[in-house]
């Protein structure tokens, strides 16, 4: 486990407020056929919040990108893989891929690859709560309320408490 420490130099905004801001960024560009797909596990929580805030009817998709990661050879299979569930036909649809943190872009790459194994979406857009920059792939977010540059030694972690409230914390990389 990563040892959690407080880092007074970095002010972490309220994650619930960021969710509301993210929803307002998406709202003007909402279309009837749009669906949300959250990336496990933080992205699923954010997608659930957006789903409620935007009053969307269609179910949320959930994906776990463990089977598509590029570090499988180096790190092995993630010890806790959760089932991906896409309860709608992606063919011809606009999907909003939702994650908590956009960083190197590798998770997003894996998620896009997985989504294409369900069919050919019309378009995929990316919504994230935080963008840490320092990309290693040509990927950018379409919707993002918070951009922050953090020391690479730090991990920005989103957690959800029992009442469903989201909260940011920082952890040292193991």
């Amino acid at each position: 486990m990563n040892a959690e420490k407080t880092h007074p130099a970095v002010a972490l905004p309220d994650a619930e407020t960021l969710c509301r801001q993210l929803a307002e960024l998406i709202r003007p560009r909402l279309q009837p056929e749009m669906v949300l797909v959250g990336i496990h596990s933080g992205g699923v929580w954010v997608a659930q919040h957006l789903h409620a805030l935007l009053g969307l009817g269609s179910e949320i998709g959930e994906i776990d990108v463990s089977f598509y990661r590029d570090d499988y050879g180096a790190r092995g299979l993630h010890p806790r893989v959760r089932p991906s569930s896409i309860p709608f036909d992606v063919e011809g649809r606009t999907l909003i891929l939702v994650d908590d943190v956009l960083y190197t872009g590798r998770t997003t790459r894996a998620a896009i690859n997985e989504l294409f194994d369900y069919g050919r979406p019309e378009r995929i857009q990316l919504a994230v709560l935080a963008d840490r920059g320092r990309r290693q792939l040509p990927i950018c977010a379409d919707f993002c309320p918070w951009r922050v540059d953090l020391d690479p030694a730090l991990e920005l972690v989103l957690s959800q408490d029992d009442s469903g409230r989201l909260q940011w914390s920082l952890a040292e990389h193991a």
Binding site: D64, S66, F67, Y68, Y72, G73, R75, G76, L77, P79, R80, V81, R82, P83, S84, S85, N113, E114, F116, D117, Y118, G119
Partner: protein, 319 residues
């Protein structure tokens, strides 16, 4: 002594037997399998996990179902699969098991799926690979002699968990030729590790191994008392090839005493499930009315078997 299935970091690197596998490892394989099960329902039934890896199915003993499901599992992980019918080629020409392995390693094999009539053959290969310093090459036991058939045991556990959720209060009856059955051994190890309340073994005296009680099972010699109030009935195939010995009078008499009929099954709990590793001998160990009935989960076992084998290969190849 180090567990031969684990690498220096304590991670699962070979799957040789369920005996000695910690409960967390078994649970992790079953959890991972449930994610893989969904992959088989998609438009593209493949994930890129083992892309570029070569899986060699090395079967020294006949098998259709197990070999095919391993092949499908490896292909759904995007591996290249090479099936070797070794009994008809190199071994017939006199090559030793380890020479065959060395040749396949020289062809850059990443994983061996091995079935052999001799108990311990997959362990011998794993041990050989370690001495060669090739811990990056993995071995999956697809059935060795009377010893173990760990992926069958795991898929049986997956099936039971799918229908019964929890093992804590389960009563499981294993019926038939337990003496020759590697499936029975793997199931017994898995069920006791996962904490099943009671495992019963029933079969003719001649087909029960001596001292089987030491594996944590209750021995019954009468089918009705074994099936009564149980949650799961695991039928074993009566290995016809053993019928020539003096172990059994006749297939018909066997069916009369140990065949699962609707009347016998009615003694079990109403929601009991009936499993069979296949291939089935209808009218020998199982009545067609049971095999095709609503309590049989024999075909779902086959489907789950692919997901479980994907999980095993996916976990091993990453360690």
């Amino acid at each position: 002594m180090r567990n031969p299935q684990l690498n220096a970091n304590g991670e699962l690197t070979h799957l040789l037997s369920i005996d000695g596998l910690p409960r967390e490892v078994i649970t992790r394989i079953l959890d991972t399998a449930s994610s893989f099960l969904k992959v088989s329902h998609r438009d593209v039934k493949k994930v890129p996990l083992l892309r570029g890896k070569s899986v060699f199915n090395v079967f020294f003993e006949n098998s259709t179902r197990t070999r095919t499901t391993f092949e499908i599992a490896a292909k759904r992980l995007s591996a290249d699969v090479i099936n070797l019918d070794v009994t008809r080629s190199s071994t017939a020409k006199g090559e030793t098991l380890l020479d065959t392995v060395d040749n396949l390693v020289a062809m850059h094999a990443d994983m061996f799926v091995v079935r052999h009539a001799a108990s311990g053959a997959p362990h011998l290969i794993a041990d050989h690979l370690r001495r060669l310093g090739r811990e990056d090459v993995h071995v999956v036991n697809a059935g060795d002699g009377r010893h173990a058939h760990p992926t069958q045991g795991l898929l049986d556990m997956y099936t039971i968990r799918h229908y019964k959720q929890d093992f804590a209060n389960l009563v499981v009856a294993i019926v038939g030729d337990i003496l020759h059955s590697r499936v029975a051994r793997s199931d017994i190890h898995a069920l006791t590790t996962l904490g099943a309340a009671e495992v019963r073994a029933v079969g003719p005296q001649t087909l029960l191994p001596t001292a089987i009680e030491k594996m944590g099972v209750r021995v019954c010699h009468d089918l009705c008392s074994a099936v009564r109030d149980c949650d799961v009935v695991i039928m074993l195939r009566l290995q016809n090839e053993r019928m020539n010995g003096a172990l059994l009078p006749s297939a018909r008499e066997y069916f009369r005493c140990y065949g699962l009929t609707p009347t016998v099954l009615a003694l079990a709990r109403p929601d009991a499930i009936v499993m069979h590793p296949g291939p089935m001998n209808r009218g020998v160990e199982i009545d067609s009315d049971v095999a095709d009935g609503p309590q049989a989960v024999i075909l779902p076992q086959v489907t789950f078997g692919i997901a479980v084998r994907m999980a095993v290969m996916g976990i091993l190849a990453g360690n």
